[in-house]
Symmetry: C2
Subunit: 204 residues, 2 copies
């Protein structure tokens, strides 16, 4: 039987493996990544990776889950906050990232975007990515739906709006990472306000 | 001295090299691409590649130029056409692609998106990509400026609007290619109309 202490130890181990995976992916890229590269980024023996994960795809699936939880989970908004405030907080979180102690937002996003492009070439990897990608999009769509229900947003197609905002955020991060457009997140935040959210807000 | 016949022959050769590069990139990816892989996709001897291009970066620079010309150049709109019509044509061209005899739009875009992500890791490659990327964005921005000058679009920040539309198109193509969202281009076209271009069009 797992005691709470066991579970805690196991959760710490998983986090150590996930952070080691980030560093290893950042160095080697997904294509060339071997389990032993992850082991080399850890203080523990790499046997623990094989104990916790059933191969590269299983690890990758948990890894994407881990990234997405970092972005979703850390948005702290009072459930009674106005939908507009929550929407702003979620957009900012995805564009500018939460604070990390080390290995920051853009290092993490570099890995995320590389995995995204790699899904072009690998059906199983694509399937895993889709599941996790859907959760990010939903977190935006649900705030839009909530605002419509509460009568503070216009009655737009919430799924279409959520997808559009998710796409714009993704593209802005990609431009900063690939083309070195360091002002892309700030510029995109302004463009979202000026050209997209104006379709959502009722005239004041 | 180059005669017109020489120039024509040279232009045919360059096109053959560019098309061979597409096929080779599609098979091997940019990272692993060798000049000899391109040679294997051609009927001519691969010495002609070395005769025309000064190494992998020079070839890549011309290759990006070649892709972008295919997308920019083939939009045929009467210069007196309403800006709204030209804007629609350019957006459709980038989203759905021009017609190709073989090796179609999505095969070409798969290579383009892979090169885009690869620019994360290579400063010189990024610089080359930026030059060409800027031209695509300008072709959208200029139509917006034109419409504002003619008084048929609202007086918005044309550069910001052009960038936003370019980003949205890029993200939609990426989703179709990476995540298999086959309806992404059509859905995105509808979202652009509903949520972005409504900021541009004067009330009728």
């Amino acid at each position: 039987m797992n005691t709470p202490t066991d579970e805690r130890a196991s959760s710490d181990t998983r986090e150590a493996i996930m952070e080691a995976t980030f560093r290893a992916l950042s160095k080697h890229g997904y294509n060339d990544l071997r389990m032993r590269d992850i082991g080399e980024e850890m203080e523990m023996t790499r046997q623990v990776i094989h104990y916790h994960y059933d191969g590269k795809y299983d690890l990758m699936s948990h890894f994407l889950e881990y990234i997405i939880e970092q972005y979703e989970g850390s948005v702290e908004v009072d459930s009674n906050a106005p939908p507009r405030e929550e929407l702003d907080a979620r957009i900012d979180q995805c564009l500018f990232g939460p604070k990390f102690d080390d290995f920051g937002h853009w290092d993490r996003m570099k890995v995320y975007h590389e995995l995204f492009t790699y899904a072009q070439n690998d059906e199983r990897h694509r399937e895993i990515f889709n599941t996790h990608y859907g959760r990010i999009r939903s977190s935006i769509t649900e705030v839009v739906e909530d605002g419509i229900e509460r009568g503070v947003f216009r009655d737009v197609d919430a799924a279409r709006m959520g997808q559009l905002i998710t796409d714009v955020i993704h593209a802005a991060r990609g431009r900063k990472l690939s083309l070195g457009h360091d002002d892309a997140p700030e510029e995109t935040r302004a463009a979202i306000d000026e050209f997209i959210l104006d379709s959502l807000y009722l005239d004041e």
